[in-house]
């Protein structure tokens, strides 16, 4: 099949300081090709200056979140046939500063992520001196939010994040949830306090774009609601 690929371009190094689009007509595209394959083809055979992030190319590293035909996806996970269109428009994710073509400055995203202490905090020595035991039910409680790959597809699809860069965003809350509801962790109160601040969970307007955009199918809006409940009740169970 033939596909027209339109890609957002912005590159201060080459003087393309005004955002614009470049188009390529690609023939011999297989419907099961991924959008990342098309970008790689353009970079390899048409324009080597085209810049985008990719690493594993298999939906694990979370490097290639992009806005494809107006919606956030991982370019390595979305197939051409899934887009139901012969014109594919690829743009950078929204709400983060564009550095070059499809590459955005992820630092504010990771700064927000770090703000909720996304690591196990427990200074006590385990009862047997070796390991902290956990039941299957206790592990299941936060299983869903362990799946996050920090691709930012959720955060940059969120209307609250577009409007207020101080909002920590869905990905940060998901990663806080992962530790707040972990029975082995002891810093849930501290994290809930952070998320109860102005830029915390209450900025969520339940637009649900995050859950729809998540390539890992995490129930993000549910996780945010559970954190809100934990703040309201003071209970983590």
């Amino acid at each position: 099949m033939e596909v027209t690929l339109r890609v957002f371009r912005y590159n201060t190094e080459t003087g393309r300081t005004k955002p614009s689009f470049d188009s390529w007509t690609l023939t011999d595209v297989d419907p099961t090709d991924r959008v990342l394959d098309l970008l790689e083809f353009v970079k390899g055979y048409h324009d080597g200056t085209l810049s985008f992030r990719r690493s594993c190319a298999h939906g694990v590293c979370g490097s290639d979140a992009m806005r494809i035909n107006g919606r956030n996806y991982l370019a390595c996970k979305v197939l051409v046939r899934d887009l139901n269109s012969t014109t594919i428009t690829v743009e950078p994710i929204m709400g983060l500063k564009v550095m070059k073509d499809l590459i955005v400055d992820m630092e504010p995203f990771f700064e927000s992520y770090r703000s909720v202490l996304p690591y196990m905090i427990n200074d006590e020595v385990p009862a047997d001196g070796k390991e902290r035991l956990q039941s299957e039910a206790q592990r299941e409680r936060f299983d869903d939010t362990t799946k996050c790959i920090l691709c930012a597809a959720c955060t940059t699809s969120c209307p609250s994040f577009w409007g207020d860069g101080k909002y920590v965003g869905p990905a940060t809350i998901v990663n806080a949830h992962r530790f707040i509801f972990d029975s082995r962790d002891q810093a849930a109160g501290e994290r809930l306090e952070i998320l109860n601040e102005q830029g915390g969970v209450w900025r969520c307007r339940t637009a649900f774009n995050c859950t729809e955009a998540c390539p890992r199918e995490i129930h993000i809006t549910q996780a945010i609601a559970e954190v809100k409940q934990a703040i309201n009740t003071g209970k983590v169970d």
Binding site: R71, M94, P159, N209
Partner: protein, 137 residues
């Protein structure tokens, strides 16, 4: 100031260009109906206040409200209040009572049903108001 303008631009571009699903459009409608109702309330408080301060202006304001275009606006206002209320109840239920209902399938269904229910509640009032409007013409 530049940051404010920049984030306002991103927000509006996102509202319009991001191709979200039911949740995105229900969020937009919720925001529009909320802002519409707030705008009406603000104007209404000001015009009611003129009863005390400048009575002749109040009569003038009421005369403006009776213009057909404002009567049409009132029909829209009733929809705004109903949708904002019904959707607000849906969000309260899903977010505060039953977070497990925030699955893609259930959320899409709930958003669609909220719109349908709002229209069903709004229609009788809209028909009565339309009847009044036609009688005024």
């Amino acid at each position: 100031m530049t940051t404010l303008i920049s984030s306002l631009r991103t927000t509006l571009a996102g509202y319009i260009n991001y191709r979200g699903r039911e949740g995105h459009y229900s969020f937009l409608l919720h925001r529009l109906t909320g802002l519409g109702t707030l705008l009406f309330l603000a104007i209404h408080i000001v015009d009611t206040a003129t009863v005390y301060w400048i009575p002749e202006l109040y009569d003038h304001a009421i005369a403006i409200y009776r213009l057909p275009i404002f009567l049409v606006g009132e029909i829209g206002l009733v929809f705004a209040v109903i949708y904002h209320g019904v959707n607000g109840l849906r969000i309260i239920y899903q977010d505060m009572v039953n977070p497990a209902s925030w699955t893609i399938a259930r959320q899409r269904r709930a958003a669609r049903w909220t719109l349908i229910l709002s229209v069903i509640i709004w229609l009788p009032a809209a028909l009565i108001m339309l009847n009044t409007l036609l009688a005024h013409l």
